[in-house]
């Protein structure tokens, strides 16, 4: 009798354990994060976030929601993009522990990780069972923007990718198509090469300017360096000779690309050299340009998605909703320009709470809501985001939009990421501004290559070579 009773007890316990295990297995990463974070109720997590629209996500949406669920307050420190790296490093060096969680641009990760500013996240990922959901991040971001030297330092959290936006009404106009074919001998369609881009751009400007120009881009150097990096690699350029680590941006390809960028300005609106993100957006949304290349928010705002909200009142009213097509930029390998990843500061005094917050933000459930916030600038980065039926119904062409983003994520090119990347980027920024000032492309690139070599020498050729080899071996470094 007693053995039967024992057995029934064991059976009951086993059943209980199985039920508990099943419940635990069914628990999502977001739910785990919330449950575990409740232990830290009453504490505050301070997170660095890009100032402006980006920060409205934690200020208006995720921060208040997290506090409601866990009792943990979220303090958002808004920092301009250009200052973010400096602020993070300064706080780290000072050891203040002022920041718990961080938004970092993936290209900075080698520097931040080497300096010790970022916490290794692997132990937390295992402890809080996030590994499965991490695997569902789109491969380009997951495989290229998460780890340094095989360790997880940040969660890719923003599917920044360049998309070619074009006016379907103009490209589909029968008369325009006929005239184009007669003049250039091929069909008017989104350009597949930069040669086609120049021909189509010039043709449309000739036909439609000054009401509509063939294209415009943001040309201010901080943005244009991404366009250079993209075009340069699509045309076959390599940044360095892997054997010597000598810069090769002044190759024939480099000169061809800079020359092409300068020449393209001729069919763009006057003064395009001064265009930044907003000027280019305004030109496209007002119907002044037929093509542009930019980050994903352009597509949403062109469709009028969420632009009635007060925080987006500065976005010019779209006159082209329903007329915009989405394609990969010429060359087919768009730049995964900038982007953001979520990390934990190594000096945080509240690492578990900070980690749990970023796990919750990055989880399948919560990230899907965040990428649909029209104002927050976070772009789809998980397979489930691209496939979301809810998102695909946000506006009539949203399905095509998401398909273009997914395609871009599959073929995209990573920003150059080395030790002290910003020094190399600074040289590129100067080079672009010299280009718009009228200097000779070859001379500009020769100087840039010399400057890059000097930076590499100072850092240490072998040291940088090892980092470059690691970067160049990634799937998104160069077109395959």
């Amino acid at each position: 009798m007693s053995s039967i009773r024992k057995l029934s007890w064991v059976g009951a316990l086993a059943a209980l354990a199985m039920t508990w295990a099943a419940t635990a297995m069914a628990e999502t990463a977001a739910e785990i994060a919330v449950r575990e974070a409740q232990k830290y109720k009453g504490s505050t997590v301070t997170i660095v976030w890009e100032a402006g629209l980006q920060a409205l996500d934690p200020l208006n949406f995720s921060g208040p929601k997290w506090e409601e669920l866990t009792g943990i307050k979220v303090k958002v420190v808004e920092v301009q993009t250009a200052e973010m790296f400096t602020k993070i490093m300064q706080e780290y060096r000072a050891g203040t522990g002022a920041y718990d969680a961080l938004n970092v641009i993936p290209a900075w990760m080698p520097d931040l990780a080497q300096a010790g500013a970022l916490e290794v996240l692997d132990p937390f990922v295992d402890k809080y069972k996030f590994r499965d959901e991490l695997q569902k991040i789109a491969p380009t971001y997951r495989d290229n923007q998460m780890m340094v030297d095989g360790k997880i330092y940040a969660f890719p959290d923003d599917g920044d990718v360049f998309v070619l936006y074009y006016r379907k009404d103009i490209f589909g106009d029968p008369k325009m198509k006929e005239e184009f074919k007669a003049k250039l001998g091929y069909d008017l369609a989104p350009p597949k090469t930069w040669k086609e881009f120049a021909e189509i751009g010039q043709f449309l400007t000739d036909k439609l300017a000054p009401n509509t120009y063939g294209a415009a881009f943001f040309r201010q150097p901080p943005y244009a360096i991404y366009m250079f990096q993209e075009r340069f690699r699509n045309e076959g350029g390599k940044f360095f000779d892997p054997a010597t680590m000598k810069a090769t941006i002044n190759s024939d390809v480099g000169v061809k690309v800079l020359t092409g960028m300068r020449d393209d300005n001729k069919f763009m609106p006057p003064g395009v050299e001064q265009f930044g993100f907003v000027e280019n957006l305004a030109a496209f949304l007002s119907g002044q340009t037929a093509m542009t290349i930019s980050w994903p928010p352009y597509g949403r705002w062109a469709a009028g998605y969420g632009t009635e909200q007060e925080v987006l009142s500065w976005v010019p009213k779209s006159t082209i909703a329903g007329k915009v097509g989405y394609a990969l930029p010429p060359g087919g390998h768009p730049e995964l320009a900038a982007g953001f990843a979520l990390a934990v500061a190594s000096t945080s005094k509240n690492k578990d709470a900070a980690y749990l917050f970023i796990q919750w933000l990055n989880s399948e459930d919560v990230s899907l809501q965040r990428v649909q916030l029209p104002y927050a600038l976070r772009d789809p980065f998980r397979d489930s985001h691209f496939a979301s039926a809810e998102y695909q119904n946000k506006w009539p062409d949203a399905k095509e939009y998401l398909a273009a983003l997914k395609q871009g994520a599959e073929t995209g090119l990573l920003d150059l990421s080395l030790l002290q990347t910003d020094k190399y980027e600074e040289v590129l920024r100067q080079s672009i501004s010299k280009l718009w000032a009228g200097e000779d492309p070859k001379a500009i690139l020769d100087q840039a290559a010399a400057d890059w070599d000097a930076i590499t020498e100072k850092i240490g050729v072998d040291k940088q070579k090892a980092v470059y080899e690691g970067w160049a071996s990634k799937s998104g470094a160069y077109p395959k």
């Binding site: 400096t86 060096r93 520097d111 300096a115 609106p269 050299e273 002290q420 718009w436 000032a437 009228g438």
Partner: protein, 298 residues
């Protein structure tokens, strides 16, 4: 000791007591003022960058690097060009405006207040405002020029190398001429009228009176104004940062912008400290020379 005789302490108070009293204040001042300077000097002899943990001694390497750094000397040249052009223009315009407003006129106080407004705007805000004003797409400046030209004009004030310096100098003059004006107006108001009237009676013309009577009287104040503005111009950062960011390329990069880039974008902490000491040395020489030349130390 006789009863009632003063104690030794009272008879001969501690001669150093007064120094003890001010010692805390001096210590505090040294801590705040001198310590950062000494610390920066030490840093300038190290290999400190914000990206690496190396704090080893570099000897004079950072100072030797100063002489090989073409961009540094170019930035000093750009600073000198801006100073040499903007300072006299601000002085002349400020003096002319002060002369104009010296006479009593209706609405004088209102106009003086209005003219001084630019000086109370933060330079970075002024730079951002002028960037917008000079923008080809949104700014009114090109539109106004276009009205006069009779056709739309595309003048890229912050991109075209021929236009960036005129744009910067114009903005600088717009913001800081009122400072000169205000100081010189105060100085001119204190000029002894009997002397200028006597000169007029003696047949001296306007220019002669100005040069021989008025300017010598306001010179000490004018010299201080020149010195203050000169130093400000050597440190110029905000307006240019907002307008051109030092570009195109580096052609409008001043020494302050270059120092900022080295320190806070390139994270070359020790090298930046060396640049700072170079600037301190140059400024000290200029200021000492200027003070002697202007007779301010008399």
């Amino acid at each position: 000791m006789e009863p009632g005789a003063p104690s030794g302490a009272l008879a001969a108070p501690d001669r150093f007591f007064k120094y003890w009293l001010i010692a805390p204040a001096i210590f505090l001042l040294l801590l705040i003022g001198l310590f950062p300077l000494v610390y920066s000097l030490i840093v300038s002899f190290q290999r400190l960058t914000m990206l690496e943990a190396d704090t080893s001694f570099a000897g004079l390497a950072n100072y030797a690097q100063l002489f090989r750094d073409h961009r540094l000397w170019e930035s000093l040249l750009h600073t000198a060009v801006i100073t040499v052009i903007a300072l006299p223009l601000e002085l002349i315009l400020g003096l002319a405006m002060a002369q104009l407003f010296l006479e009593r006129m209706p609405g004088r106080q209102f106009f003086v207040s209005l003219l001084v407004l630019p000086t109370i705007i933060s330079p970075i805000v002024a730079g951002a405002m002028w960037r917008l004003m000079l923008d080809n797409r949104y700014g009114p400046i090109n539109q106004i020029i276009g009205w006069f030209a009779g056709k739309p004009v595309t003048l890229l004030w912050t991109v075209n190398p021929d236009l960036v310096y005129p744009a910067i100098i114009f903005c600088e003059i717009w913001q800081w001429t009122p400072f000169m004006f205000l100081i010189l107006l105060a100085a001119l108001s204190n000029v002894d009228r009997s002397l200028t009237e006597a000169a007029e009676i003696d047949g001296a013309g306007y220019w002669r009176t100005l040069v021989r009577i008025v300017l010598p009287q306001i010179w000490p104040v004018m010299a201080v104004a020149i010195l203050i503005r000169g130093l400000d111009l050597v440190r110029i950062f905000d307006i240019i940062w907002a307008l051109t960011g030092g570009g195109p390329g580096t052609i409008t990069e001043t020494i302050s912008i270059y120092t900022y880039i080295q320190g806070f974008q390139q994270f070359e902490t020790s090298y930046t400290a060396a640049i700072a000491f170079l600037v301190i040395a140059i400024l000290t020489i200029i200021v000492v020379w200027a003070i002697r030349r202007m007779g301010l130390a008399k």
